[in-house]
Symmetry: C2
Subunit: 192 residues, 2 copies
DNA sequence: CTTTATTTAATACATTTGTATCATAAACAA
DNA sequence: TTGTTTATGATACAAATGTATTAAATAAAG
């Protein structure tokens, strides 16, 4: 009956356009008009896929989470613990253009989430998952009794490195970032 | 000649009102009208102190930096290196209401700075200072050859802990935050 | 071809926003 | 008092923004 269009696929295309606008102009300039322009459609047409700007933002956050999940799922793990941990954590670090876009966008959504309960819910989801991932890594790497402390330390290090690499890519480039993280894991592995 | 008003003092009062609005409603809702209301003056009157919203934002960022500087300057240092380091780093960690307000506001300014060159300049100033502070701490605590790596690690840990304490205060409360940081410094102090 | 459901897009509208204008008030100097 | 400078705040205005409305185009089914 209708026009031949893959609805979900179109939604993802719009969300990716939303990402690009946020990266290029910031979240305050991520207006429905700017996003529609980037997606090469009209505002009215875009509204057929997202009934409100907030719907689009939440979908765009979920799409970041989905991409991270997919990359981690595809990883050929069960090698050395430190190597596996590096592979997993690299999926949330801005070490190439693709991850950088997603992490910059996520960073801006996170800041907006501080004063937006709907976005905060999604932000907390991701946060809980990353915390648990760090917890598992710590449990596999060490037998330290204070796993809570070590988990917070690893998780804070990962997010801190991500933010610094986003803000100061000239100082904290991908190679340095990865070596800092790997050395941390090595020290942890020798028991703290 | 004029009305009896301390111009600089008034500017600081407005900037602090700006902080409170940003914390309560987010940076997108930190409009000139909201800030004027919080400062208990009219928009026109506020414009007498700041000719534009951007001027107010940059002054408000500078005021955060000033407060951090003042607190550090007042510290009675030259005790044990780890204790001194903790005292200094605590000034940029959200461990009480005052610091939490400043760090939340700074966090939001930082995210806005990603797409605003004027704010980015101020953000980079603070960033450079904190990096150098971490560098000094590392140099005093260890003789490790890789001071660049250790500086990035400490700095990322500090900022990561700050962001997590802001986003998830229920999980990462001030006591846990401080103990994670202190243990890190202790391990560093034993040479890495 | 006709019908029907979906997609597209132009236009409108009420709000909000930053900034500008202008008149008034206040305090000190002459 | 008179004059001058600073402070205050009401009002105005153009631009931007999220959302709603409405009509047209498209593709498949009858």
């Amino acid at each position: 009956m209708p026009k031949i269009v893959n609805h979900e696929e179109r939604k993802r295309k719009v969300a990716e356009a939303c990402w690009r606008v946020i990266q290029k102009k910031g979240i305050e300039q991520a207006t429905v008009r700017e996003i529609a322009k980037e997606a090469k459609m009209s505002v009215g047409s875009m509204r057929h896929y997202f009934s409100s700007q907030k719907d689009l933002f939440i979908f765009s956050m979920q799409l970041v989470m989905d991409h991270v999940h997919e990359r981690i799922k595809k990883l050929p793990l069960s090698g050395p613990p430190i190597k596996d941990a590096m592979q997993v954590l690299s999926q949330v670090l801005p070490i190439d253009a693709e991850r950088r876009l997603e992490m910059e966008v996520w960073f801006l959504f996170t800041s907006k989430a501080l004063n937006d309960p709907d976005l905060k819910k999604k932000s907390d989801e991701m946060d809980d998952e990353l915390y648990q991932a760090c917890r598992l890594i710590i449990e596999h790497l060490t037998v330290a009794a204070d796993w809570k402390q070590e988990t917070e330390r690893l998780y804070a290090l990962v997010d801190g490195l991500a933010v610094h690499a986003i803000m100061r890519p000239g100082r904290l480039h991908p190679d340095l970032l990865l070596s800092v993280l790997e050395n941390h894991l090595k020290v942890i592995g020798q028991n703290v």
